[in-house]
């Protein structure tokens, strides 16, 4: 898992450079990439949990998202590096073998806004998600898994040597 971040990081740079070289233009989120036939398509912004993302501590996030308290569980697996060399890109994987998982959230307690990401897991989708997060400084990362109406958590301390907020 520690190798994963440099792999995907350099993959990302390499494929971005290749794409830029090939196309002669770097496409970012300029809106220019819209396909006419699906001009209205795009994620559904109205369901974004604004209150949860505005929350500044763990209790506020849990209150906004779940309205119930979390129980630590060894059935929630949180993979994060012990030491993150680059706080701007820290690979995090949350998985769980609890039955009927419906939501997974990742909190970074020392970040200015505690909630980093939240995922909806429909029926038939695996209870596992990998992504890359910014950690402002050495922090505890908390994974919350909602399963069968209960809320379960796992936490891990991650040391950050170069902060992830441009500092």
């Amino acid at each position: 898992m520690e190798d994963n971040s440099s792999l995907t990081g350099s993959l990302c740079r390499r494929s971005l450079l290749k794409a830029a070289a090939g196309a002669g233009v770097v496409v970012f989120a300029s809106g220019a990439a819209l396909l006419p036939a699906v001009a209205d398509a795009g994620g559904d912004q109205s369901k974004w949990p604004k209150d949860a993302f505005d929350a500044k501590d763990e209790a506020a996030v849990i209150g906004a998202l779940f309205g119930k308290s979390a129980t630590p569980s060894d059935k929630v697996k949180l993979e994060a590096p012990e030491i993150a060399e680059n706080g701007a890109v820290v690979p995090i994987t949350v998985s769980s073998d609890l039955p009927k998982v419906t939501r997974i959230s990742v909190l970074v307690l020392e970040n200015p806004y505690t909630l980093a990401a939240a995922y909806l897991i429909p029926d038939g989708t695996g209870a596992s998600v990998s992504s890359r997060l910014k950690l402002a400084k050495t922090t505890k990362v908390v994974a919350l898994v909602e399963a069968e109406g209960g809320l379960f958590s796992a936490g891990k301390d991650v040391k950050v040597t170069v902060g992830g907020c441009g500092g």
């Binding site: 794409a19 990439a33 994620g43 559904d44 909630l115 990401a117 995922y119 909806l120 429909p122 989708t125």
Partner: protein
């Protein structure tokens, strides 16, 4: 046709693993540029993955998700040749969508 979304979806047995890499600055709003001015926040908020007319995964992101965000998850169903649609919308209302084939 350039899209900001790269998807690699592979089926094995009755499961499909999806990896997505999206080009996006994911500016947090905390970083200043060379002149000292704050770069305003600009980050993807919602990503939806659809297969067979059903949403199989939804990501809600905040500014703490890394630039050029990466995602990996697995869902039951999907087979080689099937299409998947991936869509995102950011806090400025910008959007992108792509259709990818499961390999």
């Amino acid at each position: 046709m350039a899209s900001s979304i790269r998807v690699r979806a592979t089926s094995s047995g009755d499961r499909t693993e999806v990896q997505a890499l999206i080009q996006h600055p994911m500016d947090s709003g905390f970083v200043k540029d060379a002149s000292g001015a704050v770069i305003p926040s600009h980050y993807i908020q919602v990503v939806d993955f659809e297969h067979g007319g059903k949403i199989v995964f939804t990501a809600f992101w905040g500014p703490a998700v890394s630039k050029d965000p990466y995602l990996k998850f697995t869902f039951q169903g999907g087979k080689k040749g099937d299409e998947m649609m991936v869509s995102w919308v950011d806090n400025k209302g910008q959007k992108d969508t792509t259709v990818a084939k499961i390999g």
